[in-house]
């Protein structure tokens, strides 16, 4: 039984002390419970934070809507909370958000998608390995830098083409915001495209399709749910972006659909008031919660839309 065969250690003849083993298992058990508890705490804290934010937004907005009817908030065409003749039409700020976001998405969605298709289907390995970190860098640049890039570089450039373009405008801010969003759109889209199984691509090539046809007609539709998710994330980023707009699009509330004009967005207005010296509790201060709630509902809408799109396009491979 105990004889050692060429290199194989003999089977232990002395049984390990049972109590010792049990004790070790006991401490391991407690350690696991502690780790589990901290993991739970970490997860719970994010849920708690979300609820706390929603609670504050809703309750503070409640105070606001005691004094301003919801009708005026939604349909008034002026936003002048600090004037003696105060108006609270959120459309004014939303128009700025909408126009700047649209400009940003007109830049980010086509470019981001093209980059994703190129990187996933065409780029040689080395190009991809070099390009990806640079793209990610684009998403890591602090937005204040993008803001000044828009104000001091892109706007003067655009003014060479459109001499009447004002120094603060939604176009320049939106375009730069679009550049900032490109990596969000491209990296998630690319991941989705690379997850498309090879046998689908082979099926397309076997039918005599070119690489380009395969990328556009088979891989892209197969990755649609992921690409849709990328677009939705891009939209959320655009709607929530603050610094670029505060710096380059101006702080003037302006109900407009023209990207060549300056206009404050919801976010730019919120920083403006939050940094100003309005007394807490005043109706002027309360506006930022109502504006914040509106912003959150928009983002929520897009997130739900993204979720539904994902479910709709979900295909089992």
């Amino acid at each position: 039984m105990t004889s050692t065969v060429a290199g194989i250690p003999a089977i232990a003849t002395v049984p390990p002390i049972v109590s010792h083993r049990l004790a070790r298992r006991h401490t391991r058990h407690i350690k696991e419970r502690i780790i589990e508890f901290f993991l739970f705490l970490a997860a719970a804290s994010s849920v708690f934070t979300t609820f706390a934010i929603v609670y504050i937004l809703v309750s503070e907005s409640w105070v606001f809507f005691q004094q301003v009817p919801l009708r005026d908030f939604l349909f008034d065409t002026q936003w002048t909370p600090l004037f003696s003749d105060a108006h609270y039409g959120i459309m004014v700020l939303l128009s700025g958000t909408l126009v700047s976001s649209s400009v940003a998405l007109l830049v980010a969605i086509p470019l981001g998608t093209i980059i994703a298709i190129y990187l996933s289907e065409f780029a040689p390995f080395t190009v991809r390995e070099v390009a990806k970190p640079f793209l990610e860098l684009l998403g890591g640049v602090p937005t204040i830098i993008y803001g000044y890039f828009a104000l001091l570089f892109v706007t003067p450039l655009l003014q060479k083409i459109f001499p009447e373009l004002p120094g603060f405008n939604l176009l320049s801010a939106g375009m730069v915001m679009g550049i900032m969003i490109i990596p969000y759109v491209s990296s998630i889209s690319e991941d989705a495209m690379r997850a498309v199984p090879m046998n689908l691509r082979e099926g397309s090539y076997a039918m005599g399709a070119t690489r380009f046809q395969t990328a556009l007609r088979v891989v892209t539709p197969a990755a649609l749910s992921g690409i849709a998710a990328a677009y939705i994330l891009g939209i959320s980023r655009a709607v929530g972006e603050t610094m670029i707009l505060a710096v380059a699009a101006g702080m003037q509330p302006n109900l407009t659909w023209n990207p060549m004009e300056p206009a404050a967005t919801v976010t730019a207005y919120i920083v403006q008031v939050a940094l100003g010296d309005l007394p807490h509790g005043s109706i002027g201060y309360q506006t930022i919660f109502a504006a914040g709630l509106a912003l959150m509902l928009i983002t929520l809408f897009f997130n739900i839309l993204g979720h539904l799109l994902r479910k709709y396009y979900r295909q089992a491979y």
């Binding site: 090539y205 076997a206 039918m207 539709p221």
Partner: protein, 271 residues
């Protein structure tokens, strides 16, 4: 007594009758990078007959099949030596000067796992025509119906051509892939274990379909199932570790193979 043998001679049961060469593999070597997967393959492919490739897993059946439509060109480092001559024009399919897309326009393929595209049933079948630039509605409609009928699927799907192909069952998906391959009127149809992902009923319907198709088209099929090879094919090639051990009429291979290795494999002594 006199009438019976005449019927037998003209039936497909005797493949030696009226065999016309469709393609010819000549001294084919194939390398995956530094790994040689095919060694000196020589083999004929007869027009409007079914040829089966059998042999143990990893012997190179798929590799040989995928030479016919230059599938290996998709991946870097792969290398062909030798020729596959396509008749009647005597084109060497493996010639680097021959565009693989041209080859795939003439030779279609059906894969092991059904791989319908994320499109409607109609658009799946029309795909090959669309990538060839066909966009005329009436032409597409006719071809789609013809191909789906050819794949014995028309009756089941004619009322829901706009449905996503993913909603079909596995067997229907595979027949859809066959329809997709047929829609471009290929000269040769390649099958790589087309029933290995299907249940027995779906398998039977695909086998029956292959029997119908060989009246119109030359078929090369890889199968790991010897009964299937015996049921559907007229000729059989037995491969072993990258080499072609024996090629003959299916009856001969299964009843009195000349090679001892083939016999052992057929009788289940290894593999």
């Amino acid at each position: 007594m006199v009438a019976t043998p005449i019927v037998e001679v003209t039936s497909a049961a005797n493949p030696q009758q009226s065999k016309v060469l469709k393609a010819e593999v000549v001294d084919l070597n194939f390398h995956y990078g530094s790994v040689q997967a095919l060694k000196g393959i020589n083999m004929p492919l007869y027009e409007k007959h079914v040829t089966a490739l059998i042999g143990p897993s990893g012997c190179g059946k798929s590799t040989l099949l995928r030479c016919f439509n230059r599938m290996h060109d998709l991946y870097p480092g792969n290398r062909y030596e030798g020729r596959i001559k396509l008749h009647p024009d005597d084109t060497n399919l493996l010639d680097p000067k021959v565009d693989p897309i041209e080859v795939r326009m003439r030779i279609s393929m059906v894969f092991q796992k059904p791989n319908p595209f994320p499109k409607s049933i109609y658009e799946n079948v029309a795909y090959g025509l669309r990538v060839r630039g066909v966009s005329k509605r009436s032409v597409l409609d006719d071809k789609v119906e013809e191909a789906l009928s050819g794949a014995a699927l028309w009756g089941e799907v004619k009322d829901r051509l706009r449905d996503l192909a993913f909603n079909l069952s596995g067997g229907q998906q595979q027949r859809l892939c066959i329809a997709r391959a047929l829609a471009t009127d290929p000269e040769i149809l390649l099958f790589d274990e087309p029933t290995s992902a299907l249940d027995p009923i779906a398998t039977a319907s695909i086998e029956e379909l292959i029997g119908d198709l060989k009246n119109k088209i030359t078929i090369l099929i890889v199968t790991h199932n010897m009964q299937q090879a015996a049921r559907v094919s007229d000729f059989t090639a037995y491969m072993y570790i990258g080499e072609l051990v024996e090629f003959d009429a299916t009856d001969t291979i299964f009843i009195k193979p000349k090679n001892k290795q083939t016999e052992d494999y057929i009788t289940g002594r290894f593999g």
